[in-house]
Each structure stands twice: as structure tokens, then as C-alpha cells.
């Protein structure tokens, strides 16, 4: 901000105002007084003159001309006024005998006769009138004096006084102005200097020699204040730089913390970075073992750190004296800035140069994770200002350690889960083997005997063997189904997909497998059931689990055969758009509406008829799961008394080149 209007002008204005007004008043007053006095004197003189001439006239009545000679050639007039108001005598002979009321107002004329003598101030007309009664006569001597000359003199006098005073005032002003400038200029310089400093230009300077006296003192104070300000700012800047550097190190470290989960990698890098970044002698992280109530060295910098880690350095939390243990107990940071003076400092033979030590507890929501210990060879190294940064660092390391530990736990749990899962799979696999093997021995041996391989067999024996065989087969089927259902429910059913499966071939194979079942059924009926095939020729090759496809189709076919006692069974296979649609239609009794959903539940059969309970009750749920695993659907349509049709679809999955 520049000095806009110098205060000089204001001061001068005030000065003039304060000086002029009283001065003016005084001048006017004096002038008035003088005028007044002069007027008084003149009036007195006029009266005296009038009395003088009146007396003269009394003694020498005709001597009027003589004693009024003095008025010849002047503006002044003398006359004797008779009681009748006429001029008895007059310096202007022409007026003798005329009436005075032509020249004077009536009151004036009257006043001539009011006293013995007196005066009349007629200064408006430039007249001073003195009158005196002529003793012994009834007339009045009147002298009319010319006031104009006196007035003029007075006026010129007052004008001259005024002028002189003005000149004096002017000179005084100029002198004062100069004097003020002498003060104002240096002040203005200082003002500009202060302004520059205020605007941030701390390098501005002034020449101290330009100033004197009190202003020199002011200049001196200003310059030393500026110097102090400069120092303060520089100091602050360097402190901020230091702090920024610390923060950069800290944030670098914490970035590392959040990106590495493996403690064995993280902690050694962390302590190294901390040591370097903060220029310390030694940095170490202890982890707290809650069970053993011990602090164990986890990572330390340098050779000393490695050495102590290999020694598995640890100590109980109750250890004394020990800065680290104390910090662990109190859960509060502690700083020793001069180890020589401290009672709690425990010196370490591996670290002989330590002179200052600071330990910070690593806490995660009130739980002690460990302690961060910093050592320096410089006494007084750890100041309050850095405490916050180190505390935050300790906190973050605590979190990182906790995270790493949790991660390890999670890994462990995941591993266990995997193991359990593996055990489940192995169980299912081995169960399957364990159950099937003995049963297959039973079946095989029974078969062999029934075939006559071990010798002739009677009809009766054959019947018994066949019963045994069919029971065993039934049991085997049950075992297979139960294992399938278990796998499905455990989510462990996996399809063995082959590409380029020829559905026509598969269908044929299944029909061949179902043939004997059909024969057997027909054997029990009066009228054999017709088996109709409505299969599209040349169904395109597709990807699917061949075995499972057969399983499903066989399941549906054998169901149809089992539950139909008249009419026909129709197997159809068609290609429709991007999927195959298969249907097994029978003319059996049908399935009641309420059962149509329930038959897909494990162990539910459509009928309680004992003949039909040869089934396992698992075929349909398994078939549906198998179809759905392929990406298809299996459903039923049925009408009581008319028959049942089971449909299922399979997506067309050609080999992708």
C-alpha cells in the first residue's frame, strides 16, 4: 500500500484552520474595538467643538464666521439651529434662513434640543454630529464632522493589519510544512519499507544513516524485526522440509506395509527402510507372544539384527530394566534421550554406540502386537515433534503384522478346508470301491455257478441262484445310486465329456441293454408291449458324457418298461434348433398330478405297489441332475389312465475347431 495522501496536507489544513480562525476573530474584534474607540473620540471631539463654538457664539454672537473659518474648504459643516428649526447661521451662507428639516431627519432635529450637549453618530452618511446649546439663547450650535477620512484610514489600517498577519501566517505555514516534511519523509520511507516487508519482500533494505533521532530508533527496530522474521521463516522452512522428509519416509514405509503380506519379507525391509529414512543407528521390531508372555525379536537392522535374530533373542514382558519391556507393559511410548542418565536403559553389548533410544508400542485395538524400538548414537535425537510420526508408524506396523497373521490363519483354514474336501472326495471314491468289490464278487460267483461253470445246476438251484443274482444286482444298483446321489449332493459329481459322441450309437446301445428287460416284462403279460422307436437318423455329433447319457436313457426306458402293462412304449429322439429332445412315452397308468414333482425327490416312488418297489427311488433325481449338469432339462407330462411321457433335452455342442 503506497502512501496515498501525505498527512502533511491534512496537518497544514488543520494548522491553518486552527490558526486562522482565532486570528481572524482577534483581528475582527480588535478592528471593531478600534473603530468603536475612534468613533467615541470623534464624537467627544465633535461635542467639545460644538460646546466650544457654542460658548464662542454666546460671547461673540456675530463672530460665527470667524470661528467657523476652520471649516472652510472642508466637508465639515457648522451651523446654529434656532428653535423654530431654521438655520440662524451656517457655514454655507446660502443655507441661512432655510429650514433644517430639508437636511436632517425630524428626530435628529429634536435631539438637538434634548440636552445641553451631545453627539449623534451618523456614520452611515459619513457624519459625526456634535451639538451644544448656546447658553442664553434658544439655539443650538451643531458641528457636522466628516467621518469618511477617518473611516478610510481605519479601513486601510485594518486591511494592512490583515495583510501583514496573512503574510506571517503563510511564512509560518511554509516553515512548518518544511519542518513537518523533515519528519514525514523519513516516516514515509519507513512506511514504504514496512509495506514491502508486509508484502513478503523480506530482503528489502533501508539505509539507516538516512534517519535521525527517534525515527532512527524506529528504523532500527524495523530492520531488526525484519531480520528476526527472516530467521524465523528460514527456520520454519527447514523444519517443514525435515518434517516433509520424515513423512515421505513414513508414507513410503506404510505403502510397503500395505502391499506385502508376508511378514518374513515385510519386517526386515521395513526396519531397514526406517533406519535409513530416519538416519538411525538401529531399528528393531519385537513381537509379543501372549501365551508365553514374552517379547521375541522378529526383525532387526544390520549385522546386529541378524545376529540377535539367529540367537532368537527374547525376554519376558516383566523384564527390568528394559525400555522395550516397559513400553510393552505400560502400552505407552517411552523416550530416552540420554542413555547415560537413564535408569531404565538396558545396554546391549551388540549395540555399544547407542546414546538415545525410543520405543513405541504396536497396538491393534488395545491388543499388544509388539514393540518398535529405535536407537541412535546421537544424544537428544528423539524430539517431541517426531513422536507422532513414529507412533503412527508403530500403529501401522501393528496392523500389518496383525493382517499378516490373520492371512496366515486364513491360509491355514483354507488349506484345512481343501484337505477336508479332498478327504470327502477320497471317501466317496473309496466307499464306492469298498462297497462294490465284495458285491461284484457275489454277483460274479453266483453268475458262474448259475452258468453251470462249477458243475450242473438243478432247476430249483437255478431259480434260487437267479433270485440271489437279481437281489445282488439290485443292491449294486442301489449302492451306485446312493453314491451318485451323495456325489451330487456334495457337489462332487463330475461329467466325463467326450466330443463327437454319436447319439444314434448310444441310443442303440441303450435299447439293446433294455431289450432283455422288455422281454422279461412281456413274458408276464398276456399281450406284449410294443416298442416303437422314432429316432432321427444322423443326429449330429455332440459333446456329452456318454456313460451318463446312457444311464439317463436306460433309467427312463426301464421305468417305462417296469410300469407299463399294456399298450406301447415309444422312444423318440429329435434335433430341434440348438438342442436334442428325447422322449420316452408309455401307455401305463400315469402319474397323479401331486406326485409329478415329488417323483424327482430322492427315495420317492410314484406308487406303493410292492411289485414296483424294485426300484431305488433314486433313478429320477439322479437322471435329472445328470441332464441338468449337461445344461439340459428333464420333465414329465402325464395323464391318469392314459400314460406318461418323460422328456429331456441336451444342448447341441459341436466340436469347436
Amino acid at each position: 500500500m503506497q502512501v496515498k495522501s501525505s498527512i502533511i496536507w491534512r496537518m497544514i489544513a488543520w494548522f491553518l484552520l486552527l490558526a486562522l480562525i482565532p486570528l481572524g476573530a482577534v483581528v475582527i474584534f480588535v478592528q471593531r474595538q478600534v473603530n468603536q474607540t475612534v468613533l467615541e473620540v470623534e464624537l467627544q471631539a465633535a461635542v467639545r467643538e460644538a460646546r466650544l463654538h457654542a460658548a464662542e457664539s454666546a460671547y461673540h454672537p456675530n463672530a460665527f464666521e470667524q470661528h467657523t473659518q476652520i471649516y472652510e474648504g472642508t466637508n465639515e459643516v457648522a451651523f446654529i439651529l434656532g428653535a423654530d428649526g431654521t438655520y440662524l447661521a451656517h457655514t454655507d451662507p446660502k443655507k441661512i434662513g432655510s429650514r433644517a428639516e430639508n437636511d436632517f431627519a425630524t428626530e435628529t432635529l429634536q435631539s438637538f434640543f434634548s440636552d445641553n450637549s451631545g453627539s449623534i453618530d451618523n456614520t452611515e452618511a459619513g457624519q459625526i454630529i456634535g451639538y451644544a446649546a448656546i447658553p442664553g439663547q434658544n439655539s443650538v450650535m451643531v458641528i457636522v464632522k466628516d467621518n469618511q477620512a477617518v473611516q478610510n484610514t481605519l479601513n486601510s489600517l485594518s486591511r494592512s493589519i490583515f495583510l501583514q498577519l496573512s503574510v506571517i501566517l503563510l511564512i509560518t505555514s511554509i516553515v512548518s510544512g518544511v519542518a513537518i516534511l523533515a519528519v514525514i519523509n523519513p516516516l514515509r520511507q519507513l512506511a514504504n519499507y514496512a509495506d514491502r516487508i508486509g508484502s513478503g519482500d523480506l530482503d528489502a533494505t533501508i539505509d539507516q544513516d538516512d534517519f535521525e533521532g527517534e525515527i532512527a530508533v524506529l528504523a532500527d527496530s524495523l530492520t531488526s524485526m525484519t531480520a528476526r522474521l527472516r530467521d524465523l521463516i528460514n527456520n520454519l522452512e527447514s523444519k517443514v522440509n525435515e518434517r516433509t522428509r520424515d513423512l515421505a519416509v513414513a508414507s513410503d514405509v506404510s505403502r510397503q506395509i500395505t502391499s506385502v503380506l508376508d511378514l518374513d519379507v515385510l519386517l526386515p525391509e521395513l526396519v531397514d527402510k526406517t533406519r535409513q529414512g530416519f538416519n538411525l543407528y538401529y531399528v528393531v521390531v519385537f513381537l509379543y507372544d501372549q501365551q508365553a508372555e514374552e517379547l521375541l525379536l522378529e526383525a532387526g537392522t544390520g549385522m546386529e539384527g541378524m545376529l540377535m535374530k539367529s540367537e532368537a533373542k527374547c525376554f519376558p514382558i516383566s523384564a527390568r530394566p528394559s525400555l522395550v519391556a516397559q513400553v510393552a507393559r505400560d502400552r505407552k511410548a517411552e523416550i530416552i534421550n540420554d542413555t547415560a542418565q537413564s535408569t531404565i536403559y538396558l545396554s546391549n553389548p551388540h549395540l555399544p554406540d547407542t546414546r538415545a533410544e525410543a520405543a513405541f508400542p504396536m497396538l491393534v485395538s488395545d491388543e499388544l502386537v509388539g514393540v518398535l524400538d529405535l536407537q541412535s548414537e546421537i544424544v537428544g535425537r528423539f524430539q517431541e515433534s517426531e513422536t507422532q510420526i513414529f507412533s503412527t508408524l508403530a500403529e501401522q506396523i501393528a496392523i500389518a503384522v496383525r493382517n499378516a497373521q490373520l492371512y496366515r490363519q486364513q491360509e491355514h483354514v483354507a488349506h484345512e478346508l481343501k484337505r477336508t474336501d479332498l478327504m470327502k472326495s477320497q471317501f466317496l471314491a473309496s466307499m464306492s470301491h469298498e462297497l462294490r468289490t465284495p458285491l461284484n464278487s457275489i454277483i460274479n460267483f453266483t453268475q458262474l455257478i448259475a452258468m453251470g461253470v462249477a458243475g450242473p445246476v438243478t432247476d430249483e438251484q437255478l431259480t434260487m441262484l437267479n433270485t440271489s443274482l437279481s437281489s445282488s444286482r439290485h443292491l449294486l444298483q442301489l449302492i451306485n445310486d446312493v453314491l451318485d446321489i451323495s456325489k451330487i449332493q456334495a457337489g462332487k459329481l463330475s461329467l466325463y465329456i467326450e466330443e463327437d459322441v454319436n447319439l444314434n450309437d448310444e441310443i442303440k446301445a441303450v435299447v439293446d441293454m433294455a431289450e432283455p428287460l422288455l422281454q422279461k416284462q412281456n413274458a408276464t403279460l398276456e399281450q406284449p408291449i410294443r416298442f416303437i422307436q422314432d429316432i432321427d437318423h444322423d443326429l449330429p455329433l455332440t459333446a456329452c458324457d456318454r456313460r451318463r447319457f446312457r444311464q439317463v436313457l436306460l433309467n427312463l426306458l426301464s421305468n417305462a418298461i417296469k410300469f407299463t402293462d399294456k399298450g406301447s412304449i415309444t422312444l423318440s429322439a429329435k434335433m430341434k434348433g440348438e438342442e436334442f429332445i428325447f422322449a420316452v412315452m408309455d401307455t401305463g397308468p400315469g402319474i397323479p398330478q401331486v406326485m409329478q414333482t415329488r417323483i424327482f425327490e430322492p427315495f420317492v416312488q410314484a406308487t406303493d405297489d410292492i411289485k414296483h418297489t424294485q426300484g431305488t427311488g433314486l433313478g429320477l433325481p439322479i437322471s435329472r441332475s445328470l441332464v441338468e449338469a449337461h445344461g439340459g432339462d428333464l420333465w414329465v407330462e402325464s395323464k391318469m389312465g392314459e400314460g406318461t411321457t418323460f422328456f429331456f433335452t441336451l444342448p447341441y455342442l459341436p466340436k469347436t475347431k
Binding site: 471314491a429 458262474l448 462249477a454
Partner: protein, 136 residues
């Protein structure tokens, strides 16, 4: 090679299985004999001592100390038996198993326990040169 009377070699350590196989081969299929060999280091030697070149080797996969896979590699090392078909007999028929067997060089696989009904037919097909993967 006589497709009517194929020479079969069976390598298995379970007695019941051996009994059944013998019954099937000799009584049901009516073949003169079923050669049963041991899973031993001298396996190839055993085969040579038979004095005939077998048509089909039926090797159980889960034997110890040498399972079918190992015996297969032993056999393949000897050019004398190049023409013989080597079939794996396996109880576990997971997808991985089957592809391993296929890539391992077996000419086919038959699921255990034996399905007596289809076995003769499978042998016939194998003798015709078909690669049979009866793992249903």
C-alpha cells in the same frame, strides 16, 4: 494269432479275481488256458518263459509293487510284444484315470469288478483291433 483262441495273460494279485477270471476264460469262453503272472521285476522274463506270444495282456492297475502302468512300460521295451494288446483293468474310472490310461499307451481299459456278461464280447472286439474302453 488265433482270434478264435486268443492267448490271454492276466496279471492280478487278488485271488478271488483270479478265480473268477479263470472261470470265465476257461469255462465260459472255453479257452484252453488263462496265463496268470505275478507283478515282479522279472515280469518280461516271466512272459518269455511262457513260450508263446500273448494276444492280450490284462493288467490290473492297482497292483504293488509294479502296477499295470509300470508293467506296460516294461512290455513296450521289448519289441517281441509290440503286436500284443495291453488292456488295463481298473476299479476307479475317473475322467483323469481314463485319459491317463489312453495317453499312457494302453490299448483299452475294462472296469473292475468284471462284468461276466460282456467280457467275452469285449475280448472279441479287442482281438478285432478295436480299442475298447469299457468303463461303464
Amino acid at each position: 494269432m488265433n482270434s478264435q483262441e486268443p492267448i490271454l495273460v492276466y496279471v492280478e494279485d487278488d485271488e478271488n479275481s483270479i478265480f473268477v477270471m479263470k472261470m470265465v476264460v476257461e469255462r465260459v469262453m472255453g479257452l484252453p488256458t488263462l496265463y496268470v503272472l505275478q507283478s515282479r521285476a522279472d515280469f518280461v522274463q516271466q512272459v518269455k518263459e511262457l513260450g508263446v506270444v500273448p494276444d492280450v495282456f490284462l493288467l490290473d492297475i492297482q497292483m504293488k509293487p509294479y502296477d499295470g502302468v509300470k508293467l506296460l512300460s516294461m512290455l513296450r521295451g521289448d519289441p517281441q510284444f509290440n503286436k500284443s494288446k495291453v488292456i488295463a483293468l481298473t476299479a476307479s474310472v475317473t475322467n483323469e484315470e481314463v485319459s491317463l490310461l489312453k495317453s499312457g499307451g494302453f490299448d483299452g481299459a475294462i472296469a473292475k469288478p468284471l462284468n461276466i456278461d460282456v467280457f467275452p464280447d469285449l475280448i472279441a472286439r479287442i482281438m478285432k483291433g478295436e480299442r475298447v474302453w469299457y468303463v461303464a
